[in-house]
Symmetry: C2
Subunit: 300 residues, 2 copies
């Protein structure tokens, strides 16, 4: 692995919200998805959405086109990190330019006029189905069916006018396809948030950015992780997330993804990264962006 | 969450390999699976296997029966941690009593007499399919089909005598069901190892145990993770793995799983855990067992 951050503070072009310019945003899943809600909440309605079935396509398309961004989920407060997207982020050399935490509220949605009593099958993304376990325990006669997308499941039952099926998705999917919401808020846990990030091909660092994401790895020596974290602790820099991923071809060695509060133009952050560079054999800045502090606790 | 370790050094009964006693081992998946290979390699042939379709059943069965153990995969050197099993481990209050690293070698297996040219569909567990991407790129005419288990896929194609399908699994599955291995070593990466752990209802600590697994969490304060790792670094205790998982109901707060080299009867380990207890609001010892050092690098 290679890669080391350059002089970050000079590479601070801002493109995402250039006034009047159309922004192309690639998402995984169909129109009406939680990703679309997060994209419009972050960037407004003047965006052109491109929908892909698989995350690999989302990343490839964004990496190929200079004027494309993608908005992808990186973490859910209940199910945890979406590791595939961490791996893809580094593989396609994309950078995090923004983040947004979206509260997830699942609904049971049917084709128009279908009542709850008529249904025996419920379609949705496996994670959404998992997040509604108590609902399924209450109605054991309902059969769960996995699909690749929440809103895609609504599209399927409404366009196919399925009279024995429902889908679990956000209310915006019901609105988009014209489905009926027959039950609201069916998720087990109300504290259900997904952290989405907007990715582009280049680092875009704003002055008001206060959160930085990095990836790093080091040779296996005792106390190495402790030393790496010391570069932040010694400067009172708050960590908000640490995640480990296996390194392919080096069994039981790990790559770390770390989020911390700080801007790469601040001296303390630059010094910390410089210091970290001495301790690691791979270090890459994945982004420096304004933190979405809603529903977020600080410090680790 | 509650839980704090007791006086560990006194709770050191050894049951797993009591001579002459039959051991019941619960696994996920069908006979002939990688889990079965790992179980016999760890415990010999004098075990009674109980096969379950889902990990939830494996954990429930083990938690209910005093004489049951389960052998479950916790981590793969390519795809990473199996987070569901980390969550289940804590939820069912099971303890790690042994570990074994198994090299994974995937094969293409057909019903007897079926040649490679005849097949158009390949069944296996999604992770096994993912680990053979180059094989599928080389033969784009083959359609991947997800199944809940590698060996279960072999059972299906052999028992059903499917003439147009193959399965990806270990060679022991071909032997068990009488399938033909038509291609060997089709995984992308040879450095493919799965770490399995044997779980029981109680801590069983041997004198020769040299690895300890714990789970802990702490309130959100700056530098808290650094302080927690300091209890090990200050005593030159090597970490081998750290994993974070979300805490349900407390968005963006994490529970940490940590493995380190040490026995809970050693003074330095006891002191480190005592020290860690001061810094955490939850701490639990998940097991203290002999490390399988094959294919393992030390230190973090």
């Amino acid at each position: 692995m290679e890669g080391r951050q350059g002089n970050l503070s000079t590479d601070s072009r801002i493109k995402v919200d250039s006034i009047g310019k159309e922004i192309i945003v690639v998402i995984q899943g169909e129109r009406g998805s939680y990703s679309e809600v997060a994209a419009t909440r972050l960037l407004g309605n003047k965006i052109t959405l491109v929908c892909c079935e698989r995350f690999e396509e989302v990343f490839k398309l964004t990496a190929k086109n200079d004027n494309h961004y993608c908005l992808i989920p990186l973490e859910n407060s209940l199910s945890g990190s979406i590791h595939k997207n961490y791996d893809l982020l580094l593989r396609h050399k994309l950078k995090i330019t923004r983040e947004i935490n979206l509260q997830i509220k699942h609904n049971l949605i049917t084709a128009p006029g279908v009542s709850f009593k008529e249904i025996d099958t419920v379609f949705s993304h496996p994670i959404a189905l998992d997040q509604c376990n108590r609902f399924f325990e209450k109605f054991p006669c309902l059969v769960k069916r996995s699909a690749y997308d929440t809103s895609g499941s609504v599209k399927r039952i409404v366009e196919g006018n399925l009279r024995d099926s429902a889908a679990i998705a956000g209310k915006q999917a019901a609105e988009y396809y014209g489905g009926d919401i027959v039950m609201t808020g069916i998720q087990d846990n109300r504290e259900n948030f997904t952290r989405f990030v907007l990715l582009g091909r280049e680092l875009e660092i704003r002055k008001k950015a206060d959160k930085t994401s990095i990836a790093f790895s080091f040779g296996n020596t005792a106390g190495a992780l402790f030393k790496c974290l010391s570069v932040f602790a010694l400067r009172d820099i708050d960590l908000t997330k640490i995640e480990s991923r296996p390194i392919h071809g080096r069994p039981w060695e790990y790559l770390f993804y770390l989020d911390f509060l700080g801007n790469t133009s601040e001296e303390s952050t630059l010094k910390a990264l410089d210091h970290l560079g001495e301790l690691t054999d791979f270090l890459e800045v994945l982004g420096c962006y304004p933190r979405d502090a809603s529903h977020e606790k600080k410090g680790m």
